[in-house]
C-alpha cells in the first residue's frame, strides 16, 4: 500500500512511464475512478470512459504534460462521462422527434450514394464472413448473428472459451484480409489495371 501511495503522489518525468508504472497507477486509481464514474454512467460505459481516460493520461505523461496524473485522470474521465451524458440527451431528443429508429435518422443525414456505398461494403463483409473456415465461421455467426455469449458457444460446440476467442480473433484477421484484397482488386479494375 505504501508503494501505491507513492505512485499517486510523486511527480513524473516521461522516462518513468514504464509498463510497471502504468499497471501500478491503474491498480491504485481504478477504485477511486470507478466510484466517481459509476455515479454518472453505467458499468459498461464506465469501462469505456476509463479506457479512454487512461490512454489520454498516459499519452500526456509520456509528453511530460501531466504533473499530477491521478488528478488529471479524474478530471479527464469526469469530462468524458459528462460529455457522453450530454450526447445521450441530445440523441434521445432527436429520436423522440423522428418517426423511425435511430438508424433511419442517421441514414437521413447521409447522401444517397453514401448509403449505397455502405450497403455494398456491408455485403462484401458478409461475403468475407461466408468464406471463413467452417468452425471459425460457426463461432462468428453464433456470436454476431445470434448474440450468443462465449460460454454458450463453448458449450454448444464443446470447445473451450479460449478456443472461441481464438476463432473470433482469427476470423477478424481473415475478414480484414478479404476486405483488403477486395478493395485492391476494385481499385485496379476502376483504373483499368486489371
Amino acid at each position: 500500500m505504501h508503494k501505491n501511495k507513492n505512485v499517486i503522489n510523486s511527480s513524473f518525468t516521461s522516462a518513468s512511464l514504464s509498463n510497471n508504472w502504468m499497471v501500478d497507477f491503474m491498480t491504485t486509481t481504478r477504485p477511486i475512478l470507478f466510484s466517481t464514474l459509476l455515479k454518472l454512467v453505467d458499468r459498461d460505459e464506465a469501462e469505456e470512459v476509463a479506457q479512454e481516460a487512461y490512454l489520454k493520461v498516459f499519452i500526456a505523461v509520456k509528453a511530460g504534460k501531466a504533473d499530477k496524473p491521478a488528478a488529471f485522470l479524474i478530471k479527464v474521465a469526469k469530462n468524458l462521462a459528462v460529455s457522453r451524458l450530454r450526447h445521450k440527451k441530445v440523441e434521445a431528443n432527436h429520436v423522440c422527434d423522428s418517426f423511425g429508429n435511430q438508424d433511419n435518422q442517421q441514414n437521413l443525414q447521409k447522401k444517397p450514394e453514401e448509403i449505397i456505398d455502405q450497403a455494398a461494403e456491408n455485403k462484401i463483409l458478409v461475403h468475407a464472413i461466408n468464406q471463413l473456415p467452417p468452425a471459425c465461421r460457426k463461432v462468428f455467426i453464433y456470436r454476431k448473428l445470434e448474440d450468443k455469449s462465449h460460454v454458450e458457444i463453448a458449450k454448444i460446440m464443446q470447445i473451450s472459451t479460449k478456443t472461441v476467442e481464438s476463432h473470433l480473433s482469427k476470423g477478424m484477421l481473415l475478414c480484414r484480409k478479404y476486405l483488403l484484397e477486395n478493395k485492391i482488386m476494385q481499385a485496379h479494375s476502376e483504373k483499368g489495371f486489371g
Binding site: 491503474m26 487512461y54 463483409l125 455467426i141 454476431k144 475478414c175
Partner: protein, 125 residues
Amino acid sequence: MSMEEWTGFSVPEPILEEASQWIAKLDAKHVSEQDRIAFTVWLASDPLHQTGYGELSDLWARSSVIKNFSHLVDESNVTRLDGLIQRNEPINTSMVQIETSIWPRFVALSLIVIGFLPPIVTTLL
C-alpha cells in the same frame, strides 16, 4: 479509400494479431481486472497498437451487420456439422436420402432379374 490504403501503410501483422486477440478477449461477458489493465497498458505502449486496434475494432463493430443480411449468410456448416441444431434443416431431408439410395438399388435388382428372365423362361419351356 483511407490515407493508409493510398500510401500502402499497414500495421505489422503481429500487432494486428495481438489487437484481434484483445478484441476477442474483451468481447467476453466477464473480463478480469488484470486483463483490462493489461489491455490498457498494451494500447498505451505504442501508437501502432492504437492504429491496429482502431482498425480491427471498427471491423468487429461493423460485422454485426450480418443481422441485417441474414439471408445472405452461409450457415450451411452450422446446420450440418452437428446434430445439436435442427433449425433450417428441411424436414424431408431424410426421405429424400432414402429415395435416392433405394431407387438405384431397385433398378439394378430389377435389371438383374430381367437379365436372367430369358434363360429361365427358355428352360421352363
